[in-house]
């Protein structure tokens, strides 16, 4: 009977073997970690019935399963039961607090975690980390930083490093954020998340060499990291490396085939390579994926001006202007399109609007000057030309074409008034590669 053992009688009569608890706890746990959740729930149900809801571990696992299934309220209830059955255990408080955090009740979660901090005999990094999260969500950045610092001091928690760096980044304290991430990347050399964040941070500080370095290393580890691919590609595109950028985008697009910004950038790469048809289809896809993406609309308008489809260009540009009425370049291009369609009255309005938005706008100024010369308003043209010259001086880099145009205009103003038909082909090549910062 006794598992084959007959001898060794229990000497004391009161030493009874109870089989109340712990009987199937380990089986429930084993089933849980082997992801047989349905069977696990069945076992828990059976066990709770046998013990009249008195098995705390069954509630604990049930809570975890509900949390995985997204039923946070049910899981909250389970952990509440767990805590009621075992009120001296910190784990219950921590899990309830975690449920609160997941439910977005940050204040309640904070209170629970503070309670847990009091209860635990030794400093608990998980509690500190989550308190940091609570304070971050509540907007108390200083407290949040303090708790993340404590977490880092106690243990090397990768997430805490990332959060701390992001808080510094929010506060525009890039120096601290960078140093945090550098020390984190030394501790976790295999973490691509940290190195990508570091790369982006360098990018924000316009330290392109370092950014290239870090992101390149990231790509060595994880050749398909979408964030790193996009950032590098956008940077290459900025430096006119269209083919390399396209290769990177092609890799990234398998993961991000529904990202509007990616398609926008791909489209502008094709534009840079003077493949207008491909550019148009990519930009149209970007707009299809995100109809309110004003940058893609603006770019599409630009490409259409290049292909001399002024009507389409006007339509896309005016949509873009409606979505973002503060971008001077859009109005400049609208003016250009209207000018080509001989709608000089509206073209002039558009140029003026553009100049109003950004007074240091040589492109709009020169175009307005040309328009006025053609209309015979020499005086106003002269005034605008002076403004153009000043804008040229204040602006850093100016297209050679514009300077050439400026010379011709100055000849025209000084010399005999001749009509300006030939040099209306002035365009602004300003593609806006905006890289998507995923998440």
């Amino acid at each position: 009977m006794d598992n084959g053992l007959v001898s060794y009688k229990i000497t004391e009569p009161m030493m009874q073997v109870f089989n109340v608890q712990e009987k199937s706890d380990w089986i429930i746990y084993n089933r849980y970690i082997q992801r047989d959740l349905e069977l696990c729930k069945l076992l828990i149900d059976q066990d709770l019935r046998n013990t009249k809801d008195n098995n705390e571990f069954a509630f604990y696992i049930l809570g975890l399963i509900y949390r995985e299934e997204g039923k946070i309220k049910n899981s909250y209830w389970c952990f509440d039961r767990y805590y009621a059955l075992n009120p001296l255990c910190v784990e219950g408080v921590k899990q309830i607090a975690r449920s609160c955090l997941l439910l977005g009740r940050n204040d309640e979660a904070r209170k629970m975690y503070l309670e847990a901090e009091k209860m635990s005999r030794e400093p608990d990094t998980k509690v500190y980390y989550n308190l940091g999260l609570c304070y971050l969500n509540l907007g108390e950045l200083d407290k949040s930083k303090e708790y993340f610092h404590r977490t880092i001091q106690l243990s090397r928690n990768q997430d805490a490093y990332e959060k701390l760096a992001s808080i510094f980044a929010i506060e525009n304290n890039f120096k601290n954020a960078t140093s945090i991430l550098i020390s984190a990347s030394k501790l976790f050399p295999f973490s691509t998340n940290i190195s990508v964040d570091l790369g982006l941070l360098y990018m924000k500080q316009r330290d392109y060499d370092q950014a290239f370095n870090v992101l390149g290393n990231t790509l060595c580890q994880d050749p398909e990291n979408p964030k790193a691919l996009l950032t590098l590609a956008a940077e290459m595109q900025r430096n006119f490396g269209y083919d390399e950028a396209l290769a990177k985008y092609t890799k990234a697009v398998t993961d991000l085939s529904e990202c509007s910004e990616t398609w926008n950038n791909i489209g502008m790469c094709f534009f840079g390579k003077h493949k207008y048809v491909a550019a148009i289809s990519c930009l149209k896809r970007a707009i299809y994926l995100h109809p309110f993406n004003w940058i893609a609309l603006y770019n599409l308008g630009l490409v259409h001006i290049y292909t001399r489809q002024y009507v389409s260009a006007f339509v896309f540009l005016s949509t873009s202007a409606k979505l973002n009425p503060n971008h001077a370049g859009t109005f400049m291009l609208i003016g250009l399109a209207l000018n080509h369609m001989s709608d000089t009255r509206n073209a002039e309005k558009a140029y003026r609007k553009s100049i109003e938005l950004n007074s240091d706008n040589p492109e709009a100024l020169i175009n307005l000057t040309i328009l006025e010369i053609n209309q015979g308003k020499i005086k106003e043209a002269e005034k605008n030309f002076h403004a153009f010259q000043e804008a040229c001086l204040s602006c850093g880099s100016i297209d050679k074409e514009i300077i050439e145009l400026g010379k011709q205009v100055s000849d025209a103003i000084n010399g005999q008034p001749q009509s300006f038909d030939e040099n209306e082909d002035e365009k602004l090549e300003s593609d806006e590669p905006c890289y998507a910062e995923v998440e």
Partner: protein
Amino acid sequence: MSSTWIDVEINPPINLQTYNCCMTLSDVHGDNDNKFVVVDFGSGTSNPQLKIFKGLKQTHVIYLNEKPSAITTVYTDNSDQHIPCVAVVIKNEIYFYRNCKPYHKYSIQSTIIRDTEECKLWQESEDVFDLLKRLQVLSSTIGFVNLSTTSQQMLCLNECHLIEYFEKYRKNNLVKQHTITCVTELKRNKSEVYGVSCLVIATTDMISILDTESFKILPDKYELQGETAYMSAIGLYDVGYKILVATRTGRLYIFSKSSTSGFKVETTHAIVSVILRIDKFICCTIDGLLQCYTLKCVSLWNVKLPGDPMSIVNMYVQSMSLEMTVVSCNVINTDGHSKGLVLMYCGSTVIHKIPMPDPVTCIIFGRFGQEENALIMITTNGKVDIKLLKRTATFDLCVRPTLTAHVQGNLSIPKRSNVFIEQTLREREHCKEMHVRTQQTWQILQMVVSNERLNSIKQKITSQFLHTSAQLLGLGPRFKIRFLLKNLGKDPLMGINVAFLYNAQYHSIESPRCRMPIIVPETEIYCETFVTCCTYGGSDERAIDIVVSRGMNVIYRAKVNMPVYNIQTNNHNEELNDIMSW
């Protein structure tokens, strides 16, 4: 694949339902032939059986009464026969079998509870139901877990057994009984295979070490929070040792001989399994991370597994001096079926893969029979699979970049179509015309809309069905505005709201908005509100707008010019001001 492993053909197939902690490979008869010792839990209807396989042949079966939570083998003496004991853990007892015969039973002693509130309750209560009620109250204050096992048992009992139970235990002492959740062996003073081992026992409240020669508990005891799920020990008891303990709530402790409190790591997810090595340990969590820490709990690396981990096991191939981590994963295919994948990690890199048709739940590596390196796997449906490592097998250890077939995914960009070109050309040629046409259409549309709006406003004005008038009562600075409404139409009016718009700089209005009841034809009703003048001056902004609306439509808008109030003269105005409809 075929150059690395030899598949053992198992015919007829062996089916076993078991868990990782209930398997071991050991030379149980001392005949230099390692047997596979396993607990078969069966389909759940029959009692579990301890089975011993010599090769593929099942040689012994021991029937067990209850489900064991762990088994292990230990050498209990230094005799030349080298026969180990199989230790089977059931609840709070450990059964030792030697040569497949019962040899000894060791029980964890229950602790007797005295002088607590609970004891008083048991002593004072005469009636079982009275006691039950009071115990329930106690349970809700101090928690069920902190009650004695005697009381816990009583709270879980069915009502029909209560009286019997009460009579049986009322005279006994209350006891707290701890069950054993996990055991592992720790060599006493010789690290060779036949060396005598101690047994490290994890109960629900502490870790203790049992001397298997005398069956006495040794003085080293460690306390921790939570129940132990896995345990692993290295070293020698007499020299120095480390015990790694993983709890069910995701905490990891390392206890060593000298220190009583261990370093601690807490994982975010439940732990699937742990492996302890000399200078580091590897832990696998259910979120699919394989993490490696030093014994001071400093993270060394972590890798993401390709699927849900089911179990991990250490694989040490002596001939190659190669230590690997074998991880069995459950990988979901693109068609939604789950398949098994057994990965071998050397450090953080995968050096070998074995695809399996079904997910592997249990896995063990070691000496099986005469074969040094055997891998025994049990899949979810209970099928046993055995693979033997070829003596000529090699593992490619150089880390090479995982070239994933270089996905030269072409961007799917549509080719230019004829229609597109035609449209483009047409647009270029006729752009002015198109633009003018669009602008004209746009203007026409604007005109149509404006006309419609004008018409609707006219209609509203002509169909006057509401007569309104306003009165201003009082001497100031507090006035009363009375706004009268009369329905001139034939149908009753409903949902009329009246709002008073005012400049807060000069006035304050008690209730600036009021909802009118139904207005029956030919009757007059009014609403009124108090206005208080705050400051003097500014005749223009002094007016109060009265807006009558029905739903979203403004029906009337009237302006009441407020008098300039002057304290000295106190000239009271009571006038009906010009009302203009809108």
